[in-house]
Amino acid sequence: MKKIRWGTLIAYVILVIFAIITIFPFVYMILGGLMTFQETTKIPPTLIPKNPQWGNFSRVFAQAPFARYFLNTFITASVTTIVSLFNALLGAFAMVNLKFKGKGIIQGILLSLLMVPGEAIIFTNYNTIARLGLLNTYIGLVLPFLTSIFYMYYLQSYFGSISETIYKAAKINGASDWEYIWRILVPMSKGGLFTVGLLSFISGWNSFLWPLLVTNEDSMRLLNNGLTAFASDAGSETELQLAAATLTVLPILILYFIFRKQIIRGVVRNDLKG
């Protein structure tokens, strides 16, 4: 018995050490954002600010248009999520419930496109957007991301678990495909749709390389790009950088803590099937 207890103790110690390593940057970010400049660069470093400097946040908003970044990020992440979910929903419905010539080919093409790394196509997409004159516009920011093969594939596996007899019964009762989608399919797979929506919104919120390419006007920047620009402009003001980082991360962290079960379950399901 004694041997097993030791094992458990060691396991706990290691787990707690790694948990601290995981959480520490977040704690340091939030506390550092409330310090004075002297406190952030003190040797030896401190962790607890003497007087929390709430004013740091208003200084961040005064020095860079963070409110605008928030708005831009919210708009692009929401639009991308809603439209790509809508497209994925229709596509997944067709792939699961309808029979047509060429289905196998379409499925094959889509699956092989899943392997294409985004970084390989992002630069030529930039070229397309630039030619369309859509640099520094919301449309340019969202356009290449309005479909997601990945989420469509995910929904396909979700819809596949709904019995086909339900679709047939709906057809016999005179429901059109459109009615079936909105009155049966969507309500029955609310959980899956919600999870996909959450994951899509989070990845939209955290996007970096694409908005870096297609925007250079300050008013069109997204949070992460605004943050890096701010970090180089406010180079010496460590406390403001940490406050700005807190502003960027906090909304997603709150979302995460509310929906952590759905998010984790969604990711596990997503990736074992893919």
Binding site: A11, Y12, I14, L15, A19, T22, P25, F26, M29, T40, I43, P44, P45, F86, N87, G91, M95, L98, K99, F100, K101, K103, I106, L110, L113, V116, P117, E119, A120, I121, F123, T124, N125, Y126, N127, T128, L146, T147, I149, M152, D177, W205, F208, L209, N224, L227, T228, A231, S232, T238, L242, A245, T246, T248, V249, Y256, I264, V267, D271, L272
Partner: protein, 288 residues
């Protein structure tokens, strides 16, 4: 009876249109551009000269070397730590959700924001990491400003960020193992170590193979975390440049899209090759 419900194309239309324009066309375009030179508005054919250029460019080789080193070190290290932590949570902890929620946090948060935080934690003078290292009488290197350290710094940050996804996926796989295996092993008096190596590990092999591929592909695309750690640079004196950094630099800053696309094609082929290898491996191991 064979049915051909043509209306399916109507439902698939938005997907097909967007995919053609923003996934298929850009791949073709990238291939074409890799054989062209000049600026974006004025491209002309130049055969293989872009490929000749990158293969002679020492910066390209440094980028590839860094990217491969990063992948080869950070991926196995992160995976080993993840397996250990996931197994501890699974086998020893009652409140599994608490640890899962904690370890998953980095997955949902912005790499840029956390990278900026790490820049201060890694700071040579006032950083928290060196404070701890000095307190333990260990060498405290200059993580950010020393070119010789930049790759190590990126690897540590890379391991930190990739634990989240690995642990959660591994936990999912551990939960799927038939508990009867463990019950029977207990009946025969197997120890914890025996159970881990004889039951758990063999059952985890497909998941580990999957994570290995996902992680290696992600490692080959590393860009954002370097950008955040070194404030938009690829380390001091470009010491930590990576494949995507090279591509971005040639495309946007130097203004030679052809060269950038040639590098993209090379990276693309490497990634496809890794994916292909994994498929083969999975088939052999999984036996299905």
């Amino acid at each position: 009876m064979k049915t051909n419900q043509k209306k399916a194309w109507l439902f698939l239309a938005p997907t097909i249109i967007f995919v053609s324009f923003f996934s298929i066309w850009p791949i073709i375009r990238a291939f074409i551009m890799s054989f062209q030179s000049g600026s974006l508005i004025n491209l002309s054919w130049s055969g293989f000269s872009n490929y000749q250029y990158i293969f002679k460019d020492p910066e390209f080789w440094l980028a590839i070397r860094n990217t491969i080193l990063y992948a080869l070190i950070s991926v196995p290290v992160a995976l080993a730590i993840s397996i250990m932590l996931a197994w501890f949570i699974f086998s020893k902890v009652k409140n599994k959700a608490l640890f899962e929620t904690t370890f998953f946090m980095p997955y949902v948060t912005s790499t840029i924001a956390i990278g900026i935080v790490f820049r201060y934690i890694f700071n040579g003078e006032y950083g928290m990491l060196n404070f701890i290292l000095r307190a333990m009488h260990l060498p405290a290197p200059n993580w950010i400003d020393d070119p010789a350290m930049s790759l190590t710094t990126i690897i540590i940050f890379g391991v930190w960020t990739s634990l989240a996804f690995n642990i959660v996926i591994l936990m999912g796989a551990l939960r799927n193992i038939d508990p009867n295996y463990y019950t029977i092993a207990d009946m025969y008096g197997a120890t914890g170590t025996e159970k881990f190596w004889r039951i758990t590990m063999p059952q985890l092999v497909p998941t580990i193979a999957f994570l290995l591929t996902m992680n290696i592909i992600a490692a080959f695309k590393i860009y954002t975390s370097v950008y955040a750690l070194f404030n938009g640079q690829a380390g001091v004196g470009n010491s930590a440049t990576t494949a995507v950094f090279y591509i971005y630099n040639k495309f946007q800053i130097v203004g030679t899209p052809g060269v950038a696309m040639a590098a993209t094609v090379v990276l693309f082929i490497i990634i496809l090759f890794v994916t292909f290898l994994q498929r083969k491996m999975m088939k052999k191991i999984g036996g299905r």
